[in-house]
Structure formats: structure tokens, C-alpha cells
Amino acid sequence: MSLKIKALTKSPWVYHLCAGGSCNNCDIEILDCLTPRFDVERFGVTLIGSVRHADALLVSGIVTKKTAPLVKQIWEQAPKPCLVVAIGGCACSQGMFKDCYTANPVPLDELIPVHAYVPGCPPKPETMIAGIVKLLGSLTK
């Protein structure tokens, strides 16, 4: 396992990207991960504001027609290696908004590569943490 990967697993900076049509619950639960009960900073996870600094994108919500180009652009702006985690049913599979008339015909994982899916509606903060930990674990194999 290279030092590079090892360091990445110890210091994942995440960028939260709300792809558009979400019910906001995933977003609130992501924020919840930062509050005293879950405190992901323990693991070096930091929520950062510029996608240039991101090691992982946490995407929530379905991609809508309006946001699809933006989502793609943001992914292109992220420095590689960069992981994409689809948070919640919406991001994983468009969930129940699949048939909405504003939904983008191409789902998230066909628009940009997705490395991990954290299903749930919304996933509990524990689930998100477990998902990220598993993803990082798979890197070091």
C-alpha cells in the first residue's frame, strides 16, 4: 500500500454536492455527521468548501436537467484521485424521483463515475461513516 493511498485514507476531505432534487434530509444528515455525537473530524474527515481541495464528493439528491451540466463540471474540477460517494437513494438510483419531469434522463452514475453507494433514505450518519470507511478500506487492499 503506497503512502499516498494511506495518507488519503487518513485525511479524506469531502465536498458536499447537492445534485438538485433532494428532500434535504440527506443533506441534514451529512451535516449531522459533523455535530458532537458523530464528529467525523475524529477520522480526519473535513467538510471543505472548494472542490479543488476535495478527496471525495458526497453527492445527494437526483440530478435534474438544470443541474446536470454543473455536476459534471464540478467532477471535472476535482483533483484526482477523487472518490464519488452517492449518498441516499436519490443519488444511488434516482429513487422515487426517477419519473419526475425535471429529472435528468441520465442518472448520476452514468454522468460521472461513482465509487461507492450509500443507500438509505436517508442513510443514518452511522451508515454514511461506515460507507466512507469501507470505501477507504477498499483502497488499501
Binding site: H16, L17, C18, G20, G21, S22, C23, N24, N25, C26, D27, I28, E29, I30, L31, D32, T35, P36, R37, S60, I62, T64, K66, G95, M96, F97, D99, C100, Y101, T102, A103, C121, P122, K124
Partner: protein
């Protein structure tokens, strides 16, 4: 010399559920005009509901928003029950009330926290999110999920409240009550908050009537509108509680309404647990007869309105949804104009528009390079926090 600038707030930010774009026009430090643009997160749920069966729709409408996630299903099932003249067992009515009030509790705490953040009291933020967790724990124990409870069903509720749940809820409530006392003391007696929030963003009862505003927004302006009492449903007519209404109409009044409402909510929860009769929780309706119905529920932010029309099949042919923020948001125009931009964020926050926008804003100069933002959203938050700090100093705190 007039120094006119446009401050766009929005359009969207991770925190935000219904992305909105506000264009504040400011002259110097004073807001002179406002334009609101919505629809960034428009998912066409009304149309989507026409493709789902009556049993599936609650799951869709609960995902309109994660914070009102039981208010929409509750209003919806009432609309269907109204359309099809469906009876609901009494026990189910109590359980509905219970879950709805738990939601109000956690939503108000969320608000207190974020309002604290905007005012520069980050401790308040962390604390109230910390004390929100016991409520989410209760929700998880009782309904199986922290946020999307999936309890409402046409004709009743999906899950029963077990005796051990009752004990559990009662055992966790004191924690929340203690925190409510703490917050109440901190809000009602804090001279800084008085100075900071009183007289800010005032809305008169006439404004409220003009815009049809609902919920704490209206009750803080002396309009005692509360669907729970005006048009009693579920068990709201069966337990003892009061409508909180104060006349001032400023941001402080809205905070007071929310804080005091937490006590009423706890009262309702206790009342429900006490009075809940034994029996069925679901009347198992057979069909929804053709017809139309309206369901309303007083969500944490105000009245949620659902209209359902049925043609006798098992799918609605029209489902109209109106969330409280839809009518509360336009009031921002009245409350913010003439105020200083220092207070713009907290006035917006007072509406509780699911906190959004306020985080990603940028100020643009009217003249000169139109793309050069000279002030960002966090600047606005900071302005607000500075003012608090200033006042704190004045009061020697």
C-alpha cells in the same frame, strides 16, 4: 449619494431544500427592494403523485422535505380521508398527533440552533443539535427511522406505539425539557437578544393577512391562526394545549413563539401518551370513492395544505400540495425592506425557510464590473454576528 447594490442570495446550497434565489437591492446599508426566484429544486411531485397509488403517495410526499416529513403525509391522508369519507380509529389519531409533535420538537430545535449560528452564538447551535438527538432517538425507536417516519396511512397509521415505547419516550423527555428551560432562559432574558431582535423585521397583522402567512410567522404578529385549533383534526381537539401567540411581529417574537411552542408540544405529547385509548390503529379502507378532499396540518412552519381528487381508482387524479414556506417566503419582502442588511439573514431565518440560501450569497456592485462580488454570504452572516458581538460588548457580556 446613493450606493445601490444588488445582493443575490442563493440559488442553492447544500443546506437548502427548496433552493431559492433572493435578489436584495440595497442602498448603502438599507434594503430597498427584493425579488424572489424559486423553482430550483422543482421536482414536479404533484405530477408524480398522479402515477402512484394512494398507498404509495405518503412515501413520496414525505420526501418533499426532510424536515416536514410527517406533516405532508398527515395532511395528505386527511385529504384522502376527506375525499372518500374514510373513518380513522381513535388510537391512530393519537399516534398521528404524537409523531407530528415529535417532528415539531426537532424542527424547532433545528431552528434555534441555526438562528443561534446566524447570530454568532455557535454554542447555541452545537447545543441544540446535540439535544435534537434524543428526539431523533425517540423517533427512531418509535417509527424505525430518524427522519422519514412512514407512519401515516390512509385510514390510520402503519405502526403501533408499544407500551415500552411509551416508557421510553417519557424517560427521554426530561432531557429535552431541561434544555427547553435553558433555551427559554437564554432567549427570553438575554438583553443582547432583546436588543438584537426586537423591532427587527416587523410584520403587522395586516401584512400577514395580505400574504396569507401561516404558522409561527403569523402567530408572532398577533394572528392566532393555527389549524390545529381552528379546524381540529387528529387528536388535537382531544388533548389539552394552548396556541402561543404574541403581538409584536418582530424576529424576537418569532423566536419566543417557537421556544414557547416547544412546551406546548411536550404537553401534547404527554397528553397523547396519557389518553391514548387501546384498539385498532387502521380502519383498512377498501376504496376511495370518487370525490375531492382537503387535508390540512399545522406543520412546524405553518399550515400544510393538500387537495386530492379521486375518480374511484386507486390513484389520485389531482394532488395539490402547498407547503407553508410557499406563503411565508413572500412575506420576506415586507419584513426586510427598510431594514439594514445586517439583519437580512436573521429576518429570513425567522421565517424558517429551511435555511438555505443564506450561506451562499454574493453581493454585486450595480455599476462597474458586474461580476465582481464584493461581499459574500458568509459576510452577511458575519455582519449579523458582529452586530451581536457589538451589543454583547455594550451590555458588558
Amino acid at each position: 449619494m446613493s450606493d445601490r447594490r444588488i445582493i443575490p442570495i442563493g440559488p442553492y446550497h447544500p443546506l437548502q431544500e427548496e433552493p431559492e434565489l433572493f435578489r436584495l437591492e440595497v442602498d448603502g446599508e438599507t434594503v430597498v427592494d427584493l425579488d424572489v426566484e424559486v423553482g430550483w429544486n422543482h421536482r414536479g411531485i404533484e405530477k408524480l403523485c398522479e402515477t402512484k397509488t394512494y398507498d404509495q403517495v405518503p412515501f413520496v410526499v414525505e420526501r418533499i422535505c426532510g424536515i416536514c416529513s410527517t406533516s405532508h403525509p398527515l395532511a395528505y391522508v386527511q385529504a384522502v380521508e376527506d375525499a372518500g369519507n374514510i373513518e380513522v380509529p381513535e388510537r391512530a389519531l393519537y399516534i398521528r398527533t404524537l409523531v407530528a409533535e415529535l417532528e415539531r420538537l426537532h424542527s424547532h430545535l433545528l431552528w434555534v440552533g441555526l438562528a443561534g449560528h446566524f447570530l454568532g452564538y455557535n454554542t447555541v447551535w452545537m447545543w441544540s443539535w446535540k439535544y435534537r438527538e434524543p428526539i431523533l432517538d425517540i423517533c427512531e425507536t418509535v417509527t424505525g427511522n430518524r427522519n422519514h417516519y412512514a407512519m401515516m396511512k390512509v385510514g390510520g397509521v402503519r405502526r403501533d406505539i408499544l407500551p415500552e415505547h411509551v416508557d421510553y419516550i417519557l424517560s427521554r423527555l426530561p432531557e429535552i425539557e431541561k434544555f427547553a428551560d435553558l433555551i427559554k432562559g437564554a432567549v427570553l432574558d438575554d438583553p443582547v437578544l432583546h436588543a438584537r431582535l426586537k423591532g427587527v423585521g416587523v410584520m403587522t397583522a395586516d401584512d400577514i393577512h395580505d400574504y396569507g402567512a401561516v404558522g409561527p410567522t403569523s402567530r408572532a404578529s398577533g394572528v392566532p391562526g393555527d389549524v390545529r385549533r381552528d379546524d381540529p383534526y387528529a387528536a388535537y381537539g382531544l388533548v389539552d394545549w394552548d396556541v402561543i401567540c404574541v403581538p409584536q411581529g418582530d424576529v424576537f417574537a418569532k423566536a419566543v413563539v417557537r421556544v414557547l411552542e416547544m412546551y406546548e408540544t411536550i404537553k401534547i405529547i404527554k397528553g397523547c401518551l396519557e389518553k391514548m385509548p387501546a384498539g385498532e390503529i387502521d380502519s383498512k379502507p377498501k376504496v376511495v370513492a370518487p370525490g375531492e378532499g382537503i387535508g390540512r396540518h399545522e406543520a412546524p412552519r405553518g399550515e400544510v395544505f393538500h387537495y386530492v381528487r379521486s375518480d374511484g381508482t386507486n390513484r389520485p387524479i389531482r394532488h395539490k400540495i402547498r407547503a407553508p414556506t410557499y406563503v411565508n417566503l413572500p412575506t420576506y419582502k415586507t419584513s426586510v425592506i427598510g431594514e439594514s442588511i445586517t439583519d437580512a439573514t436573521i429576518i429570513l431565518a425567522a421565517i424558517d425557510p429551511c435555511y438555505c440560501c443564506t450561506e451562499r450569497m454574493a453581493v454585486y456592485k450595480h455599476k462597474g464590473d458586474p461580476n465582481e462580488p464584493i461581499m459574500t454570504g458568509s459576510d452577511l452572516v458575519r455582519l449579523s454576528q458582529e452586530k451581536t458581538a457589538r451589543l454583547r460588548k455594550e451590555f458588558g457580556l
